[in-house]
Symmetry: C2
DNA sequence: CTGTATCCCAGGTGATACTG
DNA sequence: CAGTATCACCTGGGATACAG
């Protein structure tokens, strides 16, 4: 095993799911199935069109999500998780679970730290 | 479940392990046990002192690694994974495994794409 | 409706030098 | 040996306007 970022396979996995909105997008598609661009957008208050497009494109590039365009006016584009993308689900769920516990862990730490000054 | 980055627990987990050298540092400490600062440094060609210090401090702040200082001259500082940090191991291993497969996945994709131009 | 294009800023990272 | 301090760069991300 090479101990450099370029050879670390964990980093290979991280680059897929890192991105301010990527985990949320993946949760949406995993839990709610195929979604239109506008559906995703409306469920994520705060994201800009540019960002949603960009994050989706990056996920598509890695075969995690698929993009289906309906050639019509006005345009209709649907996004969904690929079978390959679904292999990420266990990891995402494990991280969600760990993250939830860690959130509580931090709160407890902050409380005990409130003794000082 | 809130669909915003600030409430996404996956992001809570990600912030812990994201950092150019953090996965590598964690692998070192998980596989080789307690390590001195200079030992970590020598096994990670390319990292600077500043970065190694910073990444370790951030991991320490989250109770993932512990730091033991020996008050002597010259200084000696040892780093090790905490029991709490060890709860991340399954996730790291899952990501390593997925990342390894994904690496191959990408190579195959590049080859089939070599038809064009 | 589903995008692009442009400008901008903050933060993560690196190079380098200095210190107890 | 194990750090800090400083400067500089680059990329991710946001705001906004425009387009097919």
């Amino acid at each position: 095993m090479k101990y450099e970022p370029d050879f670390c396979k964990i980093d290979d996995a991280l680059t897929i799911i890192v991105g301010k909105w990527k985990p949320i997008i993946l949760l949406h598609l995993l839990n709610h199935g195929t979604q239109r661009f506008s559906e995703l957008r409306s469920q994520m208050p705060g994201i800009t069109q540019k960002m949603l497009t960009k994050q989706l494109r990056e996920l598509e590039e890695e075969d995690i999500v698929s993009r289906k365009v309906y050639p019509q006016v006005p345009p209709k584009v649907e996004y969904s998780i690929t079978d390959y993308g679904r292999t990420l689900q266990p990891i995402l769920e494990a991280m969600h679970e760990w993250g939830t516990k860690h959130h509580a862990h931090r709160l407890k730490k902050e409380n005990t730290a409130s003794h000082e000054s």
